[in-house]
């Protein structure tokens, strides 16, 4: 079917209102590989404790594209000179890379496995280096294969001359993205459009306030900061007036992880899902992001998994999901463990013996200094550029979370508590 290549469309979004897309983007969105995201929940089985957490990667992906465009426009509007001087951008170049950033934002999650992050432990190992594939690898592979034609063959691409590799390169971080790598922090960084969207979207759907922050203030404060002695290239940063909005983003992430994503019951269902998936997947692993295996991977979505669980093919853990009969947390360390906490954990593990069915780390770093420390540009302070961690005492004091949670079977809870009490008395 031929359509008007210049036609615009609007999609209703519960967070951002209307999201505008053009015909090119629509044709990409209409591809089966992208439509699959309608069948991948954003937060896996979080609905088993927050019942409304049923939203999908599909709406999140549209939201990330929308937010990335707003951030892009803010940077161009406020920092055009920096971009022209240090990255040799022209108007045409900026128009072209706006497109590129939109497409990369739209497609950054297209490689998610069923139930998003919860089943990523089952990605296969790479042939070299031993590390597992990540969902970015699947996204890049899908863009280069399933979505290549939709990206490259649209009439509007006559104006930009993209190939699918340009988009994939920006997502995976490769030299083929050329100077557009400057924008990669908008797709994958401490102040990226992904984070800005999911914190607010997840809060909205779940019905919590933890993930909310002043999105418009933050967007209107984002700029490009010129190179200095330590940084050879421009980097995204914020104007001084927006630092509290940036601080709120970091704190929102901390609250969402501690209150929602690392909630003890949610973590329990991540365990059950992972174990159920191990039973369902041939060899207990997802297919690789290459050749025919990639096609097999794309056949996996939440619907297929739920169907198999419903048919009783996912073993004990599938049954537990259906019956909402999850493992029970028996002990957790503080969010930031000391040596003493780790010793206590070890002692409890010994007291509990074979009652421990799972030990799950909830490791997360809330804010990272270094290249990714958000630079803040001041009109009055000297030096003019200082990191957000210098502005915010809250952020400066944030320590990496290295919490560990111990689980037992619900039927063993009483016995487990008894053993812990006994262990305490013996001490």
């Amino acid at each position: 079917m031929t359509t008007d290549p210049h036609r615009k469309y609007e999609i209703r979004c519960p967070v951002h209102g209307f999201i505008q897309i053009d015909d090119w983007e629509r044709q990409i969105i209409d591809q089966p590989a992208f439509q699959r995201l309608r069948r991948i929940r954003q937060l896996a089985f979080t609905d088993l404790l927050y019942p409304a957490a049923m939203h999908t990667r599909f709406e999140h992906s549209l939201g990330v594209m929308h937010v990335a465009s707003l951030v892009y426009d803010s940077i161009v509007q406020k920092s055009r000179e920096v971009l022209e001087e240090h990255l040799t951008y022209t108007k045409e170049g900026l128009d072209r890379d706006r497109r590129l950033v939109r497409l990369a934002a739209l497609l950054h999650d297209v490689g998610h496995a069923p139930f998003s992050h919860s089943s990523e432990d089952l990605f296969p190992d790479r042939e070299r280096g031993g590390k597992k594939f990540a969902h970015d690898d699947y996204s890049a592979a899908i863009i280069r294969t399933e979505l290549r034609s939709a990206i490259e063959d649209h009439p509007l691409n006559e104006n930009t001359g993209f190939d699918a590799d340009n988009v994939a390169a920006l997502i995976e971080g490769s030299a083929a993205a050329k100077r557009a790598l400057f924008w990669r922090d908008l797709i994958n960084g401490q102040m990226d459009a992904d984070r800005m969207d999911y914190l607010i979207r997840d809060s909205h759907h779940i019905g919590v306030q933890y993930g909310k922050f002043d999105l418009s203030r933050l967007i209107s404060s984002v700029i490009a900061i010129a190179p200095d002695r330590e940084n050879s290239q421009p980097r995204p940063g914020i104007e001084e007036g927006g630092w509290h909005a940036a601080e709120a983003l970091v704190l929102a992430r901390y609250f969402m992880f501690t209150q929602v994503y690392f909630h003890k019951t949610r973590v329990a269902y991540d365990i059950h899902l992972r174990e159920a998936m191990k039973t369902l997947l041939p060899g207990g692993r997802f297919p690789k992001p290459t050749g025919t295996e990639l096609k097999e991977f794309l056949k996996w979505d939440d619907w297929r998994v739920l169907g198999l669980i419903g048919k009783g093919k996912a073993g004990e853990h599938g049954r537990r999901i259906i019956e909402r009969n999850h493992y029970r947390e028996i002990h957790h360390t503080p969010e930031v463990c000391s040596d003493k906490d780790l010793r206590e954990l070890k002692a409890k593990r010994i007291s509990l013996g074979n009652l421990v069915v799972a030990e799950e780390p909830a490791k997360k770093s809330w804010y990272k200094t270094g290249n990714t420390d958000i630079p803040v540009l001041s009109k009055v302070r000297r030096p003019q550029v200082q990191p957000l961690s210098r502005y915010s005492m809250a952020i400066e004091g944030m320590k990496e979370n290295n919490q560990v949670l111990l689980y037992v079977d619900g039927a063993d809870s009483e016995e487990a508590e008894k053993r812990i009490r006994k262990g305490r008395q013996q001490k």
Partner: protein, 189 residues
């Protein structure tokens, strides 16, 4: 803590001991060079940003090493901007002992990376590591390039460096036999 993470934390402490006033960019890039040029199995997954190869796990490990008292980090302000200085802290020996076998096994690699790259500033480290990254990507794609072609590819990522300077850094790395994708210039084939 896994054995791999223990080894990584110990490596970070060892780097801080070997190179006084180590910056965060330097930590990132030295880890990249160790893993890529010396095959030290740190298990990081570096991808390319405009500031060169980067893996946020390096910074997470640095935070862990700091929390355990192996290193300390301070922000240093100077006219026009800021940087970081990392140095060994009170429990550095204890954190290093977590991966003592690994450190012993790779002692010569650690020494090598500090000798080769320890004295470069952050801008140069970003450029040198980007050259190695682009070179390895080319080699993996079985693309053979002349030094000038490789410099051109790097310049596309980092247009704020002037081309002769990029070519000079490619030549330096070539001299040290650290590049894999290079072929002779067409006249010499």
């Amino acid at each position: 803590m896994s054995d791999n993470q223990s080894a990584r934390l110990a490596t970070l402490v060892a780097l801080a001991e070997k190179q006084p006033r180590l910056g965060r960019t330097a930590v990132m890039k030295l880890c990249y060079f160790l893993q890529t040029l010396r095959k030290v199995p740190l298990g990081y997954r570096f991808t390319l940003y405009s500031y060169g190869p980067f893996d946020a796990s390096v910074l997470s490990d640095l935070s862990s090493a700091e929390a355990l008292g192996g290193v300390e980090s301070k922000t240093v302000l100077y006219s026009g901007g800021y940087g970081y200085e990392i140095s060994p802290a009170g429990r550095s020996r204890s954190v290093k002992s977590l991966g003592s076998g690994f450190i012993k096994k790779h002692a010569s690699d650690l020494q090598w990376v500090v000798e080769q790259f320890g004295n470069f500033g952050s801008a140069d480290l970003e450029l040198l590591s980007t050259i190695v990254y682009v070179d390895r990507e080319s080699a993996q794609a079985k693309a053979r390039r002349t030094p000038d072609e490789l410099a051109e590819k790097v310049h596309e990522v980092k247009p704020h460096f002037n081309q002769p300077y990029v070519r000079q850094k490619v030549a330096q790395l070539q001299e040290l036999k650290m590049l894999r994708s290079l072929r002779a210039t067409s006249g010499n084939r």
